[in-house]
């Protein structure tokens, strides 16, 4: 699926957070969105996901305007702080994945994904007993469950320790090589591990710049 964003502007009340953002992505691209805290990265993602209404500017998925877009199941999404989740009530990892699987996914697919993310052993543990890093990986598995075409990860490595980080980026690369479009949000500048194709940088004054990575070099 292609993504066309043209002159996107977004404001919370009178505070404009995104100014004239235009990008085009093809299926299989890997976009890194970087910038300091509070520069509008999450706001941008929420526009893409139809949570924030796009007023000036347009977003098209293939030929469909986002206001008419219905196929949200083509997206896999892991939110930043995972705070939309209602914690405390007991539910196991496997139970959560089972209720989150739509028709067509097999139980063994779930196990394969758990294995891939190296959290196979915790499948019968209560979600509430997991560490931040384990939890994050569970939510990534959930986002991958229904074979999305576009995977959006909002600061996914925030609570993952260093040795797991490299392995995590490796996993994202593998997914990307299999043809999935990846949009990865990060506030760090350590991009050397990443095999991205495009970058979008968000600045303190709420401007932004989009660039395509040069062959073999830094964007």
């Amino acid at each position: 699926m292609q993504i066309y964003i043209n002159n996107l502007t977004f404001a919370y009340g009178i505070k404009t957070v995104i100014n004239n953002l235009s990008i085009t992505l093809n299926q299989g691209d890997y976009l890194v969105v970087k910038g300091k805290n509070g520069t509008g990265k999450t706001t941008f993602i929420k526009c893409l996901l139809g949570v924030n209404e796009v007023k000036p500017g347009t977003i098209f998925y293939d030929k469909t305007d986002i206001t008419n877009f219905k196929k949200w199941t083509t997206f896999g999404y892991v939110s930043q702080s995972l705070d939309n989740f209602n914690y405390e009530f007991p539910i196991t990892v496997l139970e959560l994945l089972n209720v989150s699987s739509t028709k067509g996914t097999m139980p063994q697919d779930r196990l394969k994904l758990l294995d891939k993310m190296k959290i196979f052993d915790i499948q019968n543990q209560n979600i509430n007993s997991l560490s931040g890093g384990q939890l994050q990986r569970v939510f990534i598995v959930r986002a991958m469950l229904n074979n999305p075409k576009i995977l959006i990860l909002d600061e996914p490595t925030a609570s993952i320790d260093k040795q797991n980080k490299e392995f995590f980026y490796q996993t994202v690369d593998d997914l990307n090589k299999n043809g999935i479009t990846v949009i990865l949000i990060t506030h760090s500048d350590e991009l050397e591990h990443l095999n991205y194709t495009h970058t979008l940088t968000m600045y303190d004054d709420y401007t932004n710049s989009f660039s395509i990575r040069n062959e073999g070099g830094e964007a």
Binding site: W72, Y77, N84, N86, F89, P90, V99, S101, A143
Partner: protein
């Protein structure tokens, strides 16, 4: 006392009816209660109960004017008003997006005021007491039939849509990416909850509906290790309180809702205390192990 309870249980029709009603409500309340807890809606159950009471009072009022049909089956209007109450909550929630609890205060007060007015107009303030605290021992067979239908519909909904119901309840934002229509889900759940609340009203009383739904779940959460085990444990606790509560209501002639809820809370306390003791033992064991 206990012996006469057992013999009456199987000889008196009213006891059999109470037992059947209690058994079915014992499943229904925590089954929906677990979703209510996950979605943090515990107060909505009480609010809906107050509106259901409006339906009952209006029913009594209309029957005092000579529409006898309403007098025999006040629960129908109870259910209808409960659903109206649910829609009102949604309406006010959208009007006060940043202060959502205001909507419940408005609806619960309106419900209490209207009920009091119509009970008075119907000259039935005497029967208010049983609606406030429950009277499972006096339920009619038509009520049993209503509970049965409700239990059947809720079970079917859970069997067919259980996955979606649980997924949305834990995480509304993810629902969109699972292809679930959240708005539709919220309305269907609100209607289902309104009906169950009205049905619970008879046994638990307006003031104790949410307790019957929430407290067994609160106890189950302390022990359960998964969604399934938590729900099953909650249902067992709920059945236990209904049965013991029924016996207490019968032998001490106290309102059934009050009896059931006292047992519910006792179970919760016992579970919480036991857990605390076990944890303390475990900690001292670990400390001892460290010392060695």
């Amino acid at each position: 006392m206990f012996l006469s309870f057992i013999t009456d249980l199987f000889q008196q029709d009213f006891m059999l009816r109470a037992l059947a009603a209690g058994f079915m409500l014992g499943i229904l309340a925590p089954l929906l209660g677990s979703i209510v807890v996950v979605r943090r809606l515990s107060f909505i159950a009480d609010t809906l109960g107050h509106f259901s009471l409006v339906g009952i009072s209006v029913s009594l009022f209309l029957s005092s004017l000579g529409f006898s049909y309403f007098f025999e089956k006040p629960l129908y209007l109870g259910i209808i008003f409960s659903v109206i109450g649910g829609l009102l909550i949604e309406f006010f929630r959208r009007a006060y997006t940043n202060y959502k609890e205001i909507s419940m205060v408005i609806v619960i007060s309106l419900g209490a005021a209207l009920s009091a007015i119509f009970f008075a107009l119907a000259s039935k303030t005497g029967s208010l007491y049983q609606y406030l605290f429950g009277s499972i021992l006096t339920v009619t067979s038509y009520y049993i039939y209503l509970i049965f239908i409700t239990l059947f519909i809720v079970s079917v909904l859970f069997i067919v849509f259980g996955k979606q119901i649980i997924a949305v309840s834990f995480d509304e934002t993810s629902a969109k990416f699972l292809g679930i229509n959240v708005g539709l889900f919220q309305i269907i759940f609100m209607i289902m909850l309104s009906i169950v609340v009205s049905v619970l009203l008879e046994a638990a009383g307006v003031l104790l509906i949410s307790s019957m739904m929430v407290i067994p779940v609160a106890a189950g959460m302390r022990i359960g290790w998964s969604y399934k085990s938590t729900t099953i444990i909650s249902i067992i606790f709920s059945e236990l309180s209904v049965l013991v509560g029924l016996w207490m209501a019968y032998s001490l002639t106290i309102p059934s809702g009050a009896a059931i809820v006292s047992i519910n809370i006792s179970i919760l306390l016992i579970v919480a205390l036991t857990k605390k003791i076990i944890n303390m033992r475990r900690i001292t064991k670990i400390d001892n192990a460290k010392l060695k």
